[in-house]
Amino acid sequence: MSDFISGLRVAAATMAICVAGYTALILGFAQAVTPATANGSLVTNEDGEIVGSRLIAQAFTSPEYFWPRPSAVDYDAAGAGGSNLSPANPELAERAEALIASHGGATEERPIPADLVTASGAGLDPHISLEGALFQAPRVAEARGVAPSVVTAVIRDMAYAPGAFFTEGRIVNVLELNLALDAELAAPAVTE
């Protein structure tokens, strides 16, 4: 019995310090020092409306925007998840074929980069590879009525190596890329 009462006292002490105290300390620091990222890295437009999170992929389907990687949860940021398919599962090939078709086809000479046909772990990967962006550049340039070099210049400007010298490839944030295009080039005609 004394074990039980003593255990309850230790439970209460750990609850007070490791849960309440610790959470309050980290929360206070985060809200004071990094409020933007602490609240989810939200992006707002000039009217102050939230248009998404810099860290969360959102669906893009119109030709004048770059498209993100496919999502096993249809970009549901309130219920994230991956496909969890075995890499040998034929469903992956079927999904890839459909995506290749929607991207206007691919050939042995112009293969589609793998990130555009593979779903990420959470289905919310905000990035595509530099190659994945360059692959889409001709479509975006045509839809916006500009030369491809204009679009590729924006891409190269925004591509970065996520782990500096620890990583080889470069990646681009899709939402930021699309916002930059909207800002630098004329906003696209509204597609209904």
Binding site: S2, A38, N39, Q58, N84, G121
Partner: protein, 553 residues
Amino acid sequence: MDHVSVILFIVGGTALLSLPLGAYMKWAMDPAPGQADRWTGLFQTIGGASADQDWKRYLVTLLVFNVIMFTVTFAILALQQWLPLNPDARGALDPTLVFNTAASFTTNTNLQHYSGEVSMSYLSQLAGLMWLQFVSAATGIAALAALARGIAGRPALGNFLVDVQRASFLVLLPVAVVVALLMVLGGMPMTLQGSAVATTLEGAMQTIARGPVAAFLTIKQLGTNGGGFFGPNATHPLENPTFWTNALAMVAILLIPMACVWMFGRIVGRTKHAAVIFAVMAVFILVKITGSVAFESAPTPAFAELPVSEDTGNLEGKELRLGATTGPLWAVLTTSTSNGSVGAMHDSLNPLTGLMPMAGMWLNATFGGVGVGMINMFLYIVVAVFVAGMMVGRTPEYLGHKIEAKEVRFAVLALFAHAVLILGGTALFAATALGQATVQDPGAHGFSEILYEFSSAAANNGSGFEGLGDGSGPWNIATGIVMLLGRYLPIILPFAIVGSLMAKRRATESAGTLGVEDATFGTMLGLTVVIFGALTFLPAAALGPLAEHFSLP
């Protein structure tokens, strides 16, 4: 090249950090007379009756405290719909899920048959689950400290309620504060506001779940808990925003399990012995990492016939910002340490890559969970010392303790129980509709999913091949029971061994005593781990990941 630099940076850097932390943990957990008296006094005041305990009393106090842990969290989860801190109005949970989740977090497993952002209120996440992430890890560290005191030849093991506070307040809390602040600076969310609603550039509505992620994620990694704030764990961009938070998370996964080996060595008073154990563990983890990274650089087999360029290997279930090494490296770190968080979807790893995390959970001692990993290695040491003693025809001794039939029986029983829980559970679910109806596809891959789930539960890991439909009642109850047995048997039996050793007179070490500080001992220990740990599971591996690999076109 990037693979090698990342692996050296993470594993090597953490190994260096573990040295001073191990020394600090010795100071915090087992202060010499005159050291840290103020803290000990405070913890004795909070813990009430706090006399030194023998192994049975220590164990009873540990188990009673764990019952309290389970009960409090069970109540919070079961009542969450009526409790505060629930801005997104999460509803009632299924009773079998409440049982499974409370068992899972009490046992330091963090197997999750739910998705955090869909099912859990902030109060459940913080006061229910995050609390257990502190105190279940502290339970493991306390158990190791007590065991080491017994092996060191002290008359008593210490006091559990004092030890668990030392581990919570002096070890886990300060490290967690430092790491959590770095995670916040790295861009991780930390808010009590409910979901944000965005109108996307194309005009769709997107609800973005968020929450107090930084605090939760940090102790999840440091305490080898592994339970994610969000369903897809550390693949979620809000739970792992950049390459650098990812690197820090991997360091946090390994840090305390590594430091526990040094703490053990210092309490026992044999740091060279600890260095040999550390080296054996490091060899195993590096072999698994090498295999995993090599196997995962192979392209996705399903795309063999398609015009897809795959320079970076299999990308299904992986995040670009985390780099190509993260998926396979994290998979090994998280399963070697009984952590269970994921940085890529394990179900979508190439079949041979998927074998590496399974091997980590089968051995469960190549660093292992905080505290308990070193305890598991102690079981292998008992067996190795006994076998070595038999081979050279001497009475087996470990640090002057005679290892006899009774101690070996307990050690083998604990190791055997691990195998029975995994293989028995897998056999039952693979042979019946209980498991067959829940796998993603019926062949070798489905078998792997079942095998992985039971391995994860028995090893108190918590990761999964998440294509498995494991949210059903039978899965919740079966894995709940396996997690409880897989946690407490490997704590109770080593305590019984140490109790038995303490009751015997300790011999002085002589030139004839088996040395435990050289390469011969390290090799013997490594072979024991391979033969007892790995070979037991080879047939199951052949039916699952190996069969799937060799059936690839």
